[in-house]
Structure formats: structure tokens, C-alpha cells
Amino acid sequence: MKKLLKDRTGSASIMFFGFLFVLLLMTFLIIEIGATMENHDYAVSVLQRACNSAVEANIMDEYRADGILLLNTQGADEDFRSFVQNDLPSKYQVVISSVNCTASPPSMTATGTITFPTVFSQYGFEEMTVSFTVKSTNYDLN
């Protein structure tokens, strides 16, 4: 065993496999970080869309005709939650901690957390959890 450990034959091959392992690990990590960022961006854009759509869909048209913008705040809140639930794929878990709406100017601010799996989740690591804040204000009189 001692003889085997002191034998320097094949040291370059071991170095080669070491380098290869590190290179592959770095490549894998870079790809995974990219995929995680893409998942996060997608979830935030769906949440932003839900916020914009909820405000747009709940502006009271009977007032808009007179140049007044008023938001049905309860309807906007309900629509936001419904749009988020319908639009986000099941791998995302969303916890909405607050939805604040103002009737005039029509606006909404929602906060909460999004949780989604990464490739490491299958090896027992925790899923990625990030907080979000989405805001929408509508001044469109047309």
C-alpha cells in the first residue's frame, strides 16, 4: 500500500480527472444558476401580469366615461388571487402576505413569497424561496 501511495506514475492522469471534475461541476452550476434565475423571472412576470390585469379589469367603466378613474378594490383583490392561482404552474408555491388596493388613483401593491424547486431539491436541499413585491397603477382614461 505504501509503495502504491509513493508511486508517482499516473499523477498526470489523476490531475486530468481532477480538472475535468471541477470543470464539469462549474459548467453544471452555471447552467443551474441560469435556470433558477429564469424560473424566478418567469414567476415574477406572471405575478406582475396578474397585478396589471386585476387593476385593468376592475376599473369601473361607468366613471371612466366621465374622466374619473375608480377601482373596485375588492374585485381587484379577488381577481389577483384568482389569476395567480390559475396562471402559475404547480411547481411554484405562492404565499400572498398582503394585497393593498386604492380606489383612486387605481393601484395595487401585493407582497409575498414564491417557492420553487431547483435541481438540488431532489437531493434533500431546501427549495428556493424568494420574496416578491408587485405594483400596478392605472392612469389610462381610454
Partner: protein, 145 residues
């Protein structure tokens, strides 16, 4: 006879075996490194195409309409002209002209190719065309009366 003996001596000599092993390993390492860099460039191009597709989807979502010229100009601005055979196709149900009604779903398919040149002999390179295809869907955020 002497030359044959000399050759036998050279072949049996262990001098410089580490150098030979190092050169062969280094060559393999350079080859693997080149392959990994090519793969990384492909992945980068894929993410770039994915970003262009997401921006196109967001533009259609926020404007509530699909204007082909605007979408192509946006793709070019975002570096889409660096991709070969870039094509963007939008499938939607329009409420009038190019307008998409609030919450109506549309699909954007971006296809392109990334060419990896393996070797070049004179004017004729040996290359591999790797396909890039991104499919995303979105929903209009504009209410059209």
C-alpha cells in the same frame, strides 16, 4: 543491426515517460476544455434566445397587440441578429385586427440555430448546427372596448 538495437533501447527506455504522459493528458484536457466552452456558448445563446422570447411576450402582454415589425425590431435590438435563421411566430386569437383581448392567451415560438465550427479546411468549414427553440405563452393585459 546497430540501428535496430538502438531503436529497441529507445523503446524500452523509461526516460521522459512523464513528459509524454503530460503532453497526452494536456491534449485531452485542451480538447475537453474546447468542448465545454462550445457547450457553454450554446447554453449562453439559448438563454439569450429565451430572454428575447420573454421580452417579446411581455411587450405583447403590456401593449395588448401583436405588431410584427415592432417585435422583429425588438428582437434585433436585443441581439437576435447574432442568431442564425431567427424566426418568431405568434399564435393568438385577435379580437380586432392585431389586438388581443384582456386575459386572452397567446403563444410565442422562437426558433433559431447556433452553428459550432469544428474545423476549417480552406473555405469549407466542418460545422454542426444546433437548434434553439423556445415556446412561451402570455396573456394580454389590455382591455379593448
Amino acid at each position: 543491426m546497430t540501428a535496430k538495437m538502438k531503436l529497441n533501447g529507445y523503446l524500452r527506455s523509461k526516460k521522459g515517460d512523464s513528459a509524454v504522459e503530460f503532453i497526452m493528458t494536456a491534449a485531452m484536457l485542451v480538447l475537453v476544455f474546447a468542448m465545454l466552452i462550445s457547450a457553454m456558448i450554446y447554453v449562453t445563446q439559448y438563454y439569450s434566445a429565451s430572454y428575447i422570447c420573454r421580452r417579446v411576450v411581455r411587450t405583447i402582454e403590456t401593449t395588448g397587440e401583436y405588431d410584427e415589425a415592432t417585435v422583429l425590431a425588438l428582437a434585433d435590438d436585443l441581439g437576435g441578429d447574432a442568431l442564425d435563421d431567427l424566426n418568431i411566430q405568434v399564435d393568438a386569437t385577435y379580437c380586432s385586427g392585431t389586438r388581443i383581448q384582456l386575459r386572452d392567451e397567446f403563444r410565442v415560438t422562437l426558433t433559431a440555430e447556433y452553428r459550432i465550427i469544428i474545423m476549417q479546411f480552406g473555405q469549407q468549414p466542418i460545422y454542426v448546427d444546433l437548434p434553439i427553440q423556445i415556446r412561451l405563452s402570455g396573456r394580454s393585459e389590455v382591455y379593448w372596448k
